[in-house]
């Protein structure tokens, strides 16, 4: 038996190596050819921005500078609204996604056919970007912060369902098997097995979603979801570029602060 196993693994190793290196070269050539074809077709010259930067630079120096920060302080409440949308959507989606994921992981699901339906449903939702969800919902329900919140929640939810299912599959397979063999019921397995072993992973994904949502909620705000995005868009449309640049810098600062904070929290969660 021992002899057989070693020869099997040796075969696998020698097979894999030569194929891998060629695949990368071929992919690189294909990508280069596609790039040249696409550039020729769209008549886009990547050198434009380097050879003729006058327009771009004059727009920045004349219209964006000097930066006007006075409007930032008038709009602090909308910045907080954007942050609240991001965190709120992540929170609601995390709860709903957890409930869904428990039925979607094949190790915990009480009915196996359900797992495929849930995975399919979640990947359908996920493949439509949050901006598209926002447009769909704005068209059907009208613009507003509430509708923007729902759009953001849908994309966060679909992302988290997938991540949570994978966390459950990866982390708690063995312990769930043991609990099942003890005669544990579905809810016992969830509360004594899945939650204790996966809570770390769940929290980490949740914090990551807040990070992503901060950016998304600004963009959704621009197309009608309210918050700082809406304010920014109004300034741009009314050619108040000095105020707009102040807002843009404020948004960047907000994103950086939230990133640093969630990264710190994720480290705390992961080392606990």
């Amino acid at each position: 038996m021992v002899h057989k196993e070693t020869t099997d693994t040796q075969k696998k190793k020698t097979k894999r190596n030569p194929r891998g290196s060629h695949a990368y070269e071929v992919l690189l050539i294909i990508a280069a050819v596609l790039f040249i074809l696409a550039t020729a077709y769209t008549q886009y010259n990547p050198m434009d921005i380097i050879l003729q930067p006058q327009n771009f630079i004059s727009f920045i120096t004349n219209d964006f500078f000097p930066v006007d920060f006075s409007k930032v302080f008038n709009n602090l409440d909308t910045i907080f609204m954007t942050i609240q949308m991001a965190i709120g959507a992540a929170f609601i989606s995390a709860i709903l996604a957890f409930i869904t994921a428990v039925f979607g992981s094949r190790y915990t699901a009480p009915f196996q056919p359900l797992t495929k339906i849930i995975r399919g449903f979640a990947s359908f939702l996920r493949n439509i970007p949050s901006l598209v969800w926002a447009f769909i919902l704005f068209m059907s329900l009208g613009v507003g912060t509430g509708v923007g919140f729902v759009a953001l929640s849908i994309s966060t939810y679909s992302f988290l369902v997938r991540s949570f299912i994978e966390t459950i599959d990866e982390v708690s397979t063995d312990s769930i098997e043991a609990l099942t063999s003890c005669g544990a019921s579905f809810w016992q397995k969830i509360f004594q097995g899945v939650i204790p072993s996966c809570i770390q992973g769940f929290l980490s994904w949740f914090l990551y979603c807040i990070e992503v949502n901060i950016r998304d909620s600004t963009i959704i705000g621009m197309v009608g979801g309210g918050g700082i995005g809406m304010v920014l868009f109004t300034y741009i449309k009314s050619f108040k570029y000095h105020s707009a640049s102040g807002i843009i810098l404020a948004v960047a600062l907000m994103v950086i602060i939230v990133d640093v904070l969630t990264n710190y929290l994720r480290k705390v969660v992961e080392t606990s």
Partner: protein, 264 residues
């Protein structure tokens, strides 16, 4: 004698969806107090036999009786009632590593509890006392508040043993309990399993790759090869020739411990 039969396999077969026939017409009877070792090469169906007993895997054909009750057709709540009578120990320990040792041991009681109590961890006082007793018996009481993930491999496996005995099982299934352990931990774990199962007079079925360990402990040895029982008898009766038949190879190709012990 019929009353003593704890576990009975009647012509049990198992076909997996991928076409593999893991068990072919297996017929077995195991009595309480027996310490049975199942040996055989990887893929012979050892794990399938164990997992059919607590319905982690459903047998395709044949009947399985646990304490005289036919279990192959059971559903829902009655499966849980069978499972709590059957303790199981795993190769990878299968503990919830972020919970304490105590909480892991108490998981053995889940099959007896209502959903509501177990969700909030409201274990009965007598269960907690029993868990501490079991932990002292296997020498782990000083670790009871430690996280299970902090323990060494051998200690984790002993927590697994305590969890299985918390169920007050009639049958104990051990799926390669010492395959991931060093020799000294292996000895402690096998001694724990043997002593506890003898003390509580329960039947113990152990899958093993180590033939010398099987011979040391087992009162009876079952040799499985390609899903069929090719040997069922005492440890003394297991000859070199028999071992060669079980593992489909010459005796010289096997690591079986002290070769002098086996008859020809």
């Amino acid at each position: 004698m019929e009353q003593n039969v704890l576990l009975k396999f009647e012509n049990v077969s198992k076909n997996y969806a991928n076409g593999v026939q893991a068990l072919k017409n297996v017929t077995l009877e195991i009595e309480s107090g027996e310490f049975v070792a199942i040996i055989g090469p990887s893929g012979a169906g050892k794990s399938t036999v164990l997992r059919c007993i607590n319905k982690m895997i459903d047998a395709s054909e044949g009947k399985i009786f646990v304490e005289g009750q036919e279990i192959t057709r059971l559903h829902g709540k009655s499966i849980r009632e069978v499972r709590r009578k059957v303790g199981m120990i795993f190769q990878n320990y299968n503990l919830v590593y972020r919970l304490s040792v105590m909480q892991n041991v108490l998981h053995g009681r889940l099959g007896y509890m209502s959903d509501f109590d177990s969700i909030f961890g409201h274990y009965k006082e007598e269960d907690k006392i029993r868990a501490v007793e079991l932990l002292s018996e296997i020498g782990l009481h000083e670790f009871m508040y430690n996280r299970a993930g902090e323990l060494s491999g051998g200690q984790k496996q002993r927590v697994g043993i305590a969890r299985a005995f918390m169920q007050n099982p009639k049958i104990l299934l051990c799926d390669e309990p010492i395959s991931s352990l060093d020799p000294s931990s292996s000895k402690i774990v096998m001694d724990n399993i043997y002593d506890l199962s003898q003390k509580h007079h329960i039947a113990c079925i152990v899958n093993l790759h180590q033939i010398d360990v099987a011979l040391n402990y087992a009162t009876r040895i079952i040799g499985l090869c390609d899903g069929q029982v090719v040997y069922d008898g005492s440890a003394e009766g297991l000859s070199r020739k028999m071992i060669e038949e079980i593992y489909h190879t010459s005796f010289d190709n096997l690591i079986v411990g002290n070769g002098e012990k086996y008859g020809t």
